[in-house]
Every structure is written in structure tokens, then in C-alpha cells.
């Protein structure tokens, strides 16, 4: 994160990073009904972390990433296909 070279996420684009975390790390595809809620929860976390005195944008996004890594997620059940 914010590495000089080879970093995956940049704190200057926290919104893009969070969108990617929710989709790729937490496994909520953009079409998933919970996707938007997950993005909101992580965005709120990043904002709240930044408000903590002495926290840099990099540390805030790292903390957001840590939360995304620890979040559970299940595969959605597929609807049962009915025979015609």
C-alpha cells in the first residue's frame, strides 16, 4: 500500500481501493445486494480512522484493508431452476 513500486492500493484513491477490496477480497461482486453496504462500512471506517489524531491516509487505508481481510462472506445460494 502506497509503495513506491508494485503497491496494489494507493491512499490517494481510497474509494477505488475500497471498491476493489469489497469485490476481490471480501467477495461481494458489484451485482451482490450486499456490495453497496460493504463499501459503505469500509468507507466509514476509513473516514473515521483518518479522523483519529496522528493517523495518516496510508495507515487508515491499511486498517481498512485489515478489516476487509477479516470479514466473513458466504457464497449465495443459486435459485433452483424449474423444469419447463
Amino acid at each position: 500500500m502506497d509503495a513506491t513500486t508494485g503497491g496494489v492500493y494507493q491512499s490517494s484513491d481510497a474509494a477505488g481501493a475500497i471498491e476493489d477490496m469489497v469485490t476481490k477480497i471480501m467477495g461481494y461482486a458489484p451485482s451482490d445486494p450486499s456490495h453497496a453496504s460493504a463499501v459503505q462500512i469500509l468507507t466509514d471506517h476509513d473516514t473515521a480512522a483518518l479522523a483519529v489524531q496522528g493517523t495518516t491516509a496510508t495507515s487508515a487505508l491499511r486498517s481498512t484493508f485489515s478489516a476487509a481481510c477479516q470479514a466473513p462472506h458466504f457464497r449465495r445460494s443459486r435459485p433452483v431452476r424449474t423444469e419447463r
Binding site: 445486494p33 485489515s66 466473513p72 458466504f74 457464497r75
Partner: protein, 460 residues
């Protein structure tokens, strides 16, 4: 390419690629779920829920030295011909294992009542005669399918349901002794020393990301609720049963840090703390360590070394106090009901019938008698089997009645020649593994060997 450090190699070995184990630790969820959450089947989820109630992790002390742990425990004082050290700590003493009165060396009575109430001493033969037999004895002399070691057999059954980071057992007490290394599906496994583990897992609390954890805790609780809201009833039940609240996670992390900080050396105390920490962190279902009980005491005037280790006179966690150290370490992390402790050595040592042992000048290797000690929630306290005169005053393990655990000179439904296999099966059942499920792990002839039903409670 960046060079891979030994620290990275060890961390990957312990916690998996991407340190999935650390994520599992942080959530309380099984490693297989954390690594592939979208692939978990309903059966796997149910298995993990059931495991919390029925299955046991295993901490086991093994010794290629063939220590004299088998010579002075309950069951050996029933035959007056068996020789014991003359020191006060070996005076015949009556005490209770649960509701059963037994007689043994006084030092055995010093285990706490809570431990004694869950302890069974299982007398058996091993067939091993030299130290080099240890790896063979760990494979029950070829009687296990695939020539697997018995700790690995149990680990294979336990790991999927516990969702441990690794299925392989882990040795923390080999002390560089290659004979006590473990193998798993033919691979020899690396051992970890307690001090190595401490250095690997203790870190800084001043990192800015660490300082944000209370804020992160609240976020994680929200994310857990989100996952539950979109899950099936089975998935919701899984999260309710296994996912830790962030408060619980914090308590576990702080207790683990305290435990790891308490490791000061690689002796039994350090091994006990390392074993408890590895199980609390759900790294492995089986940990082996090594508690000395007199070592290889061929030449041991007055059986001094036997006394020295049994009583932990050297304050290294040897002997009976060493077992108590293990039980205390498990209790300190709230694992008393989740972990079974056992011992199993390459062989026992002469009990009687030789000039050397009769004059208390030492004990030689003895493949005709050894003792497996079991302590755990599913263990019925008491003595299983015992000793009998097998040849002109030489005492060895007797036959066993599988239902009562009684010692029989002959005619038991567990013949003395089968007592090693029976002991291994009994331990498996005490770990909560169904006896039927274990059968396939024993080669054809040994599937008929019974486990001692008398030694376990809650058998499935």
C-alpha cells in the same frame, strides 16, 4: 527476486500461504473458510459446528528414550514383585482417579484433583526394543494404513472439522533429536522450538494500524452482521457458533501474547505454553512434546535419575510436575475441555525379574510393558489393564477386558499382543473420532482389535 527469509518460511509453514492462519485467528473462523469462504459446503459448516462439542485436540508427550514413566504409576503397585525407587516420593500411596481408588508412587498423587478426575493409565506392550525403533513404534510397527504415524492419523480426522491452518501435527519438543521428528503421508515434518515460536509471533503494539484496532473492531462486527444477513440459516448458525466477537478476539490475542511472552526456554514449561498457544490459535490439531521421566537409565544407582526426573528435582518441568505444567498451560487459555493430553513412548523399562532392577541399579529397555497416560474430557478415569507375571518373575503387560478395563493374566478380549493397537484406538475414540471411522486406518488384521470402552466416556 526478494530472498525468502527463515522467518518467512516458518511463518508460512505455521500459518499458510498469505498467513491465512493469522486471519483465521483474528476471526475465530476455520482456516479453510477464511481461505475460500465462498466454497464452504453445508456439510463442512455442520462438521465445524459439531466439532466444537465432540472433538478434542491432542497434546502428546513421546520419548524415544523409553523413560520409566510406566514403572511407578497406578497399576504397577498391585504386584509386589515390581521394583520401585526407595525414596519417599515413591512410597505406595492411595489416591483416587475419579471414583476409583488406586495405589501408586506418592508423586503421582500430586497432580491436582481436577486432573486426576480425568486420568486413565493404559498398560500395553509396544514391541520396541531399541531407541531406533521409535519411528516404527509411532507407526505401530507397520499396523497403520499407509505406514502413517498415529499422531498423523488423528490429525487427519480432526483437522477438517477443526479447520486448523495445517492438517499436519507439530512437534515442539524434539530438542534436535531426529528420532522424535514426525512424518505425515511420508513427509518428515519440520519441528519448531518454543523460543522460535515466541520470536516469530510477538510484535510491536505501537504500529499505527494496531492502534486503530478498537475502531476496526466495530467495523468488523458490522461486517459480520452483513454476512449473516445474507446467509442461509446454516451459514448463520455457523457464524453464531464460530465467529468470535471482536471483544473475544482481543481477549484471545492478549492472552496469547501473554502466553508467548511467558516462554523463557525450550524446556517442558516452554513446550507446554507453545502447545497451548498453537492450539488456541487453531494452527494444528495435534502437538507433540517431550517430558523426561528418567531418560535412558540403564546405570542408575538407587534409581536416582528416575527419582530426579519424576519429581522434577532439576526444575525443568520433568516428570509428574511437567504433566501438571502442560495441564496448567492448557487451562490458562481455557482449553481444559478442548484438549486431551496423552503419553506414548518407544518402550517401557524393566519392572522386575533381573538382578539389575532388583538391586535398584538401573532399568533396561522393555518392550513387553509400557503405559499410555490419557487426560481429557472424554476419558473415564481409572486404570486399563495392568501387569502380570509373563515369565518366571518378569512382569509385563496383561490382557485386558475391554468393557471393564480389568487386567487379566490371560483370556482377555484384548490379548496383550494387541494392547498397543487397542491403546491407539482408545486414544482416537477419546478424541471424539468414531471407532468405525478409525477402522480404515488400521491394516486388515488389526481392524478386529477392540478399543477399551471402559477408558472413554461420550464415545461415538
Amino acid at each position: 527476486m526478494k530472498p525468502v527469509t527463515r522467518r518467512q518460511t516458518l511463518l508460512t509453514a505455521l500459518f499458510g500461504t498469505g498467513y491465512v492462519g493469522l486471519r483465521a485467528l483474528a476471526t475465530g473462523l476455520p482456516a479453510w473458510f477464511v481461505s475460500k469462504p465462498t466454497a464452504a459446503s453445508a456439510d463442512e459448516l455442520a462438521c465445524a459446528i459439531d466439532a466444537k462439542e465432540n472433538l478434542q485436540y491432542l497434546v502428546v508427550s513421546t520419548s524415544s528414550a523409553g523413560d520409566s514413566i510406566s514403572c511407578n504409576c497406578p497399576g504397577t503397585y498391585d504386584a509386589s514383585a515390581v521394583i520401585h525407587p526407595a525414596q519417599a516420593e515413591f512410597a505406595a500411596t492411595s489416591f483416587s482417579l475419579g471414583d476409583k481408588a488406586v495405589s501408586a508412587a506418592q508423586v503421582w498423587s500430586t497432580l491436582t484433583p481436577a486432573v486426576l478426575a480425568r486420568t486413565n493409565f493404559f498398560h500395553h506392550v509396544t514391541g520396541g526394543t531399541v531407541h531406533g525403533d521409535h519411528p516404527k513404534v509411532m507407526r505401530l510397527l507397520g499396523k497403520l494404513a499407509g505406514n502413517e504415524m498415529w499422531p498423523s492419523i488423528y490429525a487427519k480426522h480432526l483437522a477438517p472439522c477443526f479447520g486448523t491452518v495445517q492438517a499436519e501435527p507439530l512437534a515442539v519438543g524434539t530438542g534436535g533429536n531426529a528420532l522424535e521428528l514426525l512424518s505425515y503421508t511420508g513427509r518428515t515434518l519440520p519441528a519448531v522450538e518454543p523460543m522460535q515460536l515466541k520470536q516469530l509471533l510477538t510484535g510491536s503494539t505501537k504500529d499505527p494500524v494496531v492502534k486503530l484496532r478498537s475502531l476496526r473492531d466495530s467495523t468488523l462486527d458490522q461486517l459480520n452482521q452483513l454476512a449473516k444477513a445474507s446467509g442461509t440459516p446454516e451459514q448463520q448458525r455457523f457464524l453464531d457458533a464460530l465467529a468470535l466477537s471482536q471483544n473475544q478476539v482481543r481477549q484471545l490475542a492478549e492472552t496469547l501474547a501473554t502466553t508467548l511472552d511467558s516462554i523463557t526456554d525450550n524446556n517442558v514449561g516452554g513446550q507446554a505454553l507453545a502447545a497451548a498457544a498453537l492450539i488456541a490459535a487453531n494452527v494444528t490439531p495435534v502437538v507433540t512434546l517431550h517430558i523426561p521421566f528418567g531418560k535412558d537409565n540403564h546405570d542408575d544407582a538407587d534409581l536416582y535419575d528416575e527419582w530426579f526426573d519424576h519429581t522434577d528435582h532439576g526444575s525443568v518441568g520433568a516428570g509428574v510436575p511437567g504433566i501438571q505444567l502442560v495441564m496448567d498451560a492448557l487451562a490458562s487459555l481455557g482449553l481444559s475441555d478442548k484438549v486431551t493430553f496423552a503419553t506414548m513412548n518407544v518402550f517401557g523399562r524393566d519392572l522386575s525379574g533381573t538382578t539389575k532392577v532388583s538391586s535398584r541399579a538401573g532399568r533396561d529397555h522393555f518392550g513387553n510393558h509400557s503405559v499410555m497416560m490419557l487426560i481429557g474430557k472424554n476419558v473415564n478415569p481409572g486404570v486399563t489393564g495392568g501387569v502380570t507375571d509373563i515369565s518366571s518373575g518378569v512382569y509385563g503387560a496383561s490382557d485386558i477386558d475391554s468393557q471393564s478395563g480389568g487386567s487379566l493374566a490371560s483370556g482377555g478380549d484384548i490379548p496383550r499382543a494387541d494392547t498397543h493397537v487397542a491403546a491407539a484406538k482408545t486414544l482416537g475414540v477419546a478424541l471424539g473420532i468414531p471407532a468405525d471411522a478409525l477402522n480404515a486406518d488400521f491394516t486388515a488384521d488389526n481392524q478386529a482389535v477392540k478399543y477399551a470402552a471402559s477408558a472413554v466416556v461420550n464415545a461415538t
